[in-house]
Symmetry: C2
């Protein structure tokens, strides 16, 4: 690690040549940068070399450079005069399987210039990543997928640039954080072997790639930093999250959790990092119940139930008529029902406590959350016993993963100084509700920190320092990835976690079920 931080943009004042000092122009610039950057390994892109003699003479040997370092070597990727006051921009990208978020940032001041998001155009090929990986094996499939995502990025970046009143040529860097498969599909590397035993990605540390090699329409000499992966099931989006949360620099052990169909967990501090990933089931993404859906207008994200009157107080996104429920809403609903005694320790509906809301169909019980006359769909919004069972399995899986990784490392959950929850889920979830159903451990609420879009946040941070490439590589290198073995220990923990909140209620002292 360097002693001082390096910026991507470096301003230099060189001594003009003379008969007594006839160092060549390129070598003079390199020597200046070697001194400034503290490294002997500096070279110029050809696109910088060719116009350099005139540039230096026009600007009295004062020059502004964009530099980047990859695998120990510095490259100058752009040079301009000091009077050039056009903004120099970078593009941060959260490359999601479903949704892609872009942020245009000023490289010199870190200012956000514009933001936007769009649906991943690869959704047309396959909604889930597995379908796309298979499609990549068909003739021209890989190229088509790469084209789709690059075209999408180019199209939306063009809009962003117009919005920020800059040209795409003023964008010199892109930092892109996605899961392993999405990173492969962006790079044009085939993810074929990722999903076949022993599950090997083509590349984990792609480092910097020339934007022109990927077809990304930023400055022709620009570079793309694709965040490294740990393996097929732990991607660059998580590394970006670690960078963003600062987990790798903290003295006290903390944990970062990305909750979804697949739960990803990193535990550690400035000395060590341990990661694992495991299936938590689709319930947490609103992907199981009939009324489940992704967050959006009219989606229930929060529910309060008065334990005494059993009155439901429902909040929807943008306060529209309710049309469904998202993952965090579902957790709220289950937690509130449990605390009000409407479901029991095993997560089963208690008909006698559900007032008029309990109904049965084909012998299966369900609960009417929103009656047809008040819903946005004109139909009852309901949650069935099967949905609750699915949620129970998901929350038990999540807790078991947390318990397994902390136990393996020998850290008590109570000793976690911070509990970061990443993603949209992390922004919407009420930790108290997740604790109430025993999905997350019973820590002081203020230890829980939603990170928001930490993938985008980490990508943005990478644009703030040329040392980020090395820092990210160092994080990637430091992580020990733990394979989750679904063995007897795991199954025992899982069974115990299938209760609300847990078979051992002393582990959740703050959870108090309403007593008449």
């Amino acid at each position: 690690m360097p002693e001082t931080e390096h910026r991507w943009v470096v301003d230099l004042e060189l001594t003009p040549p003379s008969l007594g000092d006839n160092t060549a122009d390129a070598d003079r610039l390199v020597a200046g940068l070697q001194k400034q950057l503290g490294s002997p390994n500096v070279s110029l892109d050809r696109t910088v070399l060719l116009p350099l003699p005139d540039l230096l003479r026009k600007n009295d040997y004062r020059v502004r450079c964009i530099v980047c370092r990859d695998r120990g070597a510095w490259k100058v990727i752009f040079a301009t005069g000091p009077a050039d006051d056009r903004p120099i921009a970078g593009l941060a990208v959260d490359l999601g399987t479903s949704r892609v978020v872009l942020r245009l940032v000023g490289l010199t001041d870190g200012r956000t210039l514009a933001e936007s998001a769009f649906d991943n155009p690869q959704l047309n090929v396959g909604a889930d990543i597995l379908a796309r990986i298979h499609y990549a094996d068909t003739t021209g499939g890989l190229e088509h997928l790469q084209e789709l995502i690059v075209d999408g990025l180019n199209r939306h970046m063009a809009l962003l640039c117009r919005q920020a009143d800059i040209t795409q040529g003023q964008v010199h860097l892109a930092a892109i954080a996605g899961n392993t498969a999405m990173s492969h599909l962006l790079l044009g590397t085939n993810p074929h072997w990722m999903i076949r035993e022993p599950y090997i990605p083509a590349v984990n540390r792609p480092g910097l790639t020339r934007a022109s090699d990927l077809g990304l329409n930023i400055h022709p000499g620009g570079r793309v930093l694709v965040f490294p992966n740990i393996g097929s099931y732990f991607g660059g989006d998580l590394i970006a999250g670690i960078l963003y949360s600062d987990l790798h620099r903290r003295e006290n052990t903390a944990i970062l959790v990305d909750v979804g169909t697949n739960a990803e967990v990193v535990l550690g501090n400035h000395n060590w990092l341990m990661a694992c990933a495991g299936a938590a089931g689709p319930a947490l993404e609103g992907g199981v119940t009939k009324m489940g859906m992704m967050a959006g207008p009219g989606v229930i994200d929060r529910i309060d139930i008065d334990p005494k009157t059993h009155q439901f107080q429902v909040h929807t996104i943008e306060n529209q008529k309710p049309i469904g429920i998202c993952g965090s809403g579902l957790i709220d609903l289950a937690a509130q029902m449990f605390l009000a005694g409407m479901i029991d320790l095993r997560g089963k509906l208690v008909p006698g406590r559900c007032d008029g809301r309990y109904q049965e169909k084909d012998g299966l019980g369900y609960l009417v959350v929103i009656a047809a006359d008040r819903s946005g769909t004109g139909k009852d919004l309901t949650i069935g016993q099967a949905d609750l069972d699915s949620l129970t399995r998901s929350k038990a899986a999540m807790f078991t993963i947390l318990e397994t990784i902390t136990t393996t490392v020998g850290v008590a959950m109570q000793d976690l100084s911070k509990f970061y929850v990443a993603g949209t889920f992390g922004s919407f979830i009420r930790p108290a509700s997740a604790i109430s159903i025993g999905m997350l451990p019973d820590l002081d609420i203020d230890r829980y920190k939603p990170l928001g879009n930490s993938s985008l946040g980490g990508a943005t941070m990478a644009l703030m320092s040329a040392d980020a490439v090395d820092e990210i590589d160092a994080i990637q290198e430091r992580i020990t990835y733990m394979e989750l073995n679904v063995n007897q220990d795991f199954m025992n923990r899982f069974s115990a976690a299938k209760f609300f909140p847990h078979t051992d209620p002393t582990r959740f002292p703050s959870v108090k079920v309403w007593q008449e």
Copy 2:
């Protein structure tokens, strides 16, 4: 400097992945190379990354790579299976202003596969380099010059490859040594400022360039090493010569001289290197006398005169009828005439000693070397007093340059352990003759070593070791370039050196003029 030498071609046997070791394919290859190369800074070209997963699996994780190191970072530029027994070739180029020499070499065994030479196509734009530098400033001029030389290289390389029965895609490296202006014109960098005070090249250490960036038709992932320059008047051809002569590794101080219109000199040993360059005049390249010409069939390259009978014994290249004389032949002629008493200490013809060969025209004396009836042109081949005066100035300039650099460093000429003479001139010259006229110092004849085409030799050596890029950079860095100041000291030395062999004959004890 690394402890062991690195080859450009590296064979690796990787451990195949397993559930317990799921390192990605690219990262596995990088880790193997980090170990083998002893460096943490290794990355892959995109052209290597994309096909890698299939390549590794098809070959049981055994792989043959071509690697290169530039400015501290290793790059893998090609990977293939171990069973791929097609030759892997490199191209060495002596990029002369007038003549370009190519040599195709096997990278694994160093075997010469084919050789050829062609006239620099830029000759059509301008015979001398100055004309081309001016032409480069016209619209499209620089691009045209670059195109001319690259097209020439591509055309002749295609022929070489056919001759060697390989494809151009099997050529992965090119090492090109030329003077500073030619190196610029190849790279497409403008040499404009080289010829304007304070004489600044655009670049002295271009390092490795992608062949595709230059338009050179070798493997698309191939690299071109353009030898570094010391300055506008001391080019990569000389650095190649140093590499080839091993001057920079020798314990005992030696000297390397490239004789031509411009004389370039390097003096030094494994601790230090001192260089200078100065005008010696065109006489030494056969560019002054009416009968002077470049070496070729029918050109006199050697003359013996019996001091007693004054009989001329003339040798021509390929034993054809004489049509002219080259630089080394001229030196032989002058030396033999001087030793036979046909010219005096001041280099003036002594009519009484020239038998019937002396004639006059318009009051100027000249000597018939070959009478019309024996010449290949049907005319007398003659040498005039003016030609001899020009040679005298050239040989005096050469000796003065040698005296100046040795005196500056404080090395006696007699202490030079080796005296390397580079170029065609060095191959043809008889050191005894050069000593006789006082052009080169009076050392034991066996200290003189002709180097032949040391520029091509150095370029070939660079293809034998991946460390060569660093070694060449280290040579470039170590050289102290001495500006030749034409001051009173220099003029005094020059005046003293205008005698045959010198005003101080004790400095040339071996030179004995015939006494009747």
